[in-house]
Symmetry: C2
Subunit: 462 residues, 2 copies
């Protein structure tokens, strides 16, 4: 099989590798969904700003049964919702078994759900309503709206489902609005990647281990490449990089960008299934000369580019204007989604770099005119003290660097962790595939088991 | 005994009867507390407004024991926190038994906790951060701060306690921040007095029943007085009211004011223990002539005024500038704390008046430039679907009209209701008194029982 596990970690090293799949809305085929909009308050937590905006959601009711059915509600994350609709095959596959209505709700400030249209990203005033709390309120009110307006849906149990940041939102939606959702599947949701709940280096260590496992000499080659880049750059020589991959900023391939990339790009769903092994085939000998080493690195990158169809490197500094989805996530990272990252060059293959909150805060202030509040997420969502909540599955891929900030052990009978050793970032949410490892099959079955249980209990209450 | 039950319902009919008791901060005696301030973000839910303000809290640690102790945290409501400190004798009386540190946290926009000083009430822009959600976040962060900074308090269990709106906040704090408080005592908290969860006339019906019980002819006299006022006013004759009680607005004693008063004034803690029976002694004969009937009504009012020491009737239209505490509550009522009230003149002693949301909304817009959102409280706090939460006591006074919107039946093993048949508005939170009915003694004992249980369980977890 060509895809033993989704391993899209290479993209952590290269910015700008993701692109949206085409939109299925209104198209034929099995996965037909209807696009709809719902008027939502721009500000749920204040009354001065009284405008509403159109929140988009996709809805598929062909599998839904009024009696004994359920609603699977995807808590959209940082991107166009059609992408998540297309890439969350798991929901489509279990819809029939659960007689489920599928709803994919777009996160405000992404896709077409822009509170102020083109101006949504123009300044910190317009961005002020881009928070997870506002998004959760959007979701809660949308669910209540759906239940109220669709005949027969009034008492239908709802399970929230999401991956990555969307997984955090699914878990938090259950924690904060248990009257709205009866349970949550939080796939690869690093809800503990904040403040000092986990070591800031855990992400880099897992990335490095993945490279180590993917080929002899691979992680060492990458570790050595940073010095090689510096040495060649300092002599004024050209980096042996194909022109189409060169960034306008000479820093694009540097350590700084990589570190940024680690925690920015890797948030996104990554549509590529490039096995790390293929890249590592070029990186067997870490002891090569600088030039040869870098040529190999770039050959690995090249394959990656060809595979992804992304022609040119993303220029980080233009992010805000180039790609709205990314601008939004940058803003979130600079306000409440502050996930400390660091490298030490010993336990990981990166140049040592401490987590420098002060510098980070300055950068955020320069970019957006706002200051991050690193402890807020813990205050509002509870950090590690979440045992009084219930009905949440936390699934994790053993190969996924985000598992370092995830919940990987059961907390209570109904706050359960699933680890998929051969899985990367929320593999369990993808369509099933003949090449899937047994562990992900079992994970999906267990997830369905819990969902059925919670749906059944919720039905008894009504 | 002169105080068989606190029955301060008369004040519903007359605005402006409450005044703050003197401040105990820094004084000697058993109830010595320290006043302190904590810097809190003005806006927890957005990052554009980055200023902080000084939130006041009172703290008494003379009963606290580091080992085996607890923190009783009063979730301040709409008023100066010293008032609640002075009038929540229950907390002082159980402090020793629970080895408890007492904390009384002031609600933002009340007392000395003004986010923008004198300008806090100047317009809807400055008032924009006056919401229950912001207040809960203040409380949660303050508790985390106390636990972090007071040596030995790190793992001390916390019970939230509040009455009336403060009781709602205590319950909601447990629901939204269960990682911060281990349980809550929500005394006389009408968390269901929203939208259509309870009939809008339930409040007026309970008030009327209280008057009925307090003397033959009493409620009928009041019911008849409305027409009597109209008839005398329409002939151009003077109302038989002592001049010092006359309002500048002729409507002050009218039905409209009464209805407003019902849901505004009655929110406040009422410092008066006037037994309704005394007032009803003047109102035995509802069949008197208009003039005699009103003379009796005003004699009853007169006693009330003399008792309370309030010399003149409050002019409602000046509320916003006269009394900051009231202005704040008016704003809250006009935004998220929308509690529908109505009268029918049949099941209650008031003139029939439907709940007119549209008119209410217009009035709010005129006053504050904001529109109420009547369904938000249900969306955010769950309405009647709160069974997944835990560790909350809802106590109610059988005579308290707010019990109509309260939780009066157990929901689960740990969401428990206590009804005190002879009690009025959160009698259980007051100091014990030889005249207390047995029911309130039992209620307090049961409350302590539950608190001990939750404190014990919380301690096991640490």
């Amino acid at each position: 099989c060509g895809r033993p596990a989704l391993l899209d970690i290479m993209s952590f090293l290269i910015p700008g590798v993701f692109s949206l799949a085409h939109c299925l809305v209104g198209e034929g085929g099995e996965r037909t969904v209807l696009g709809a909009f719902f008027a939502c308050y721009v500000d749920h937590f204040g009354f001065l700003e009284n405008r509403t905006f159109q929140q988009r959601y996709l809805i598929a009711d062909q599998y839904w049964k009024k009696d004994g059915g359920s609603i699977l509600f995807y808590t959209g994350n940082e991107g166009d919702i059609t992408w998540f609709c297309n890439n969350t095959g798991f929901m489509w596959e279990v819809a029939e078994e659960l007689n489920a209505m599928l709803v994919f709700a777009e996160h405000r400030y992404y896709g077409e759900s822009l509170p102020f249209g083109n101006k949504s990203f123009s300044d910190s005033k317009h961005l002020n309503y881009l928070t997870s709390e506002q998004a959760l309120a959007d979701f809660a009110i949308l669910i209540q709206h759906i239940r109220k307006t669709i005949p027969g849906a009034q008492n239908t149990p709802v399970i929230a489902i999401g991956g990555s940041y969307g997984g955090m939102l699914a878990a938090w939606l259950r924690m904060k609005y248990p009257h709205v959702v009866d349970g949550a599947l939080a796939a690869s949701a690093p809800i503990w990647q904040f403040e000092d709940l986990v070591p800031c280096g855990v992400f880099s260590r897992i990335v490095t281990n993945d490279f180590k496992k993917s080929g002899k000499g691979c992680s060492e080659s990458i570790r050595n490449s940073w010095e090689a880049i510096k040495r060649i750059s300092s002599t004024g020589n050209q980096l042996p990089m194909p022109p189409q991959h060169l960034c306008s900023s000479k820093n694009c391939i540097s350590q700084a960008v990589c570190t940024v990339t680690l925690w920015v790009i890797s948030h996104h769903f990554l549509p590529l299934d490039l096995p790390l092994q293929v890249a590592c085939k070029f990186l067997k000998d870490p002891s090569l000369s600088d030039k040869l080493l870098l040529q190999n690195i770039f050959q690995a990158i090249n394959i990656y580019y060809n595979y992804s169809g992304v022609a040119s490197c993303l220029n980080i500094s233009h992010t805000a204007t180039k790609n709205l989805g990314e601008a939004g996530w940058y803003y979130q990272v600079c306000t409440e989604m502050v996930m400390p990252m660091c490298t030490d060059g010993v336990n990981d293959m990166f140049e040592p770099e401490k987590w420098d909150f002060q510098a980070f805060s300055e950068e955020c202030f320069k970019l957006w005119g706002v200051r991050p509040r690193p402890s807020w997420i813990l205050s509002v969502y509870g950090g590690k003290n979440i045992s009084s909540h219930s009905n949440i599955i936390f699934s994790n891929g053993g190969l996924d660097p985000w598992s370092g900030g995830g919940v990987t052990q059961n907390i209570t009978n109904s706050l359960v962790a699933i680890v998929i050793p051969e899985g990367a970032h929320h593999l369990d949410l993808r369509s099933s595939n003949p090449c899937d490892p047994e562990s992900v099959r079992q994970a999906r079955a267990l997830e369905v088991h819990y969902m059925k249980q919670w749906i059944g209990k919720a039905r008894q209450r009504h």
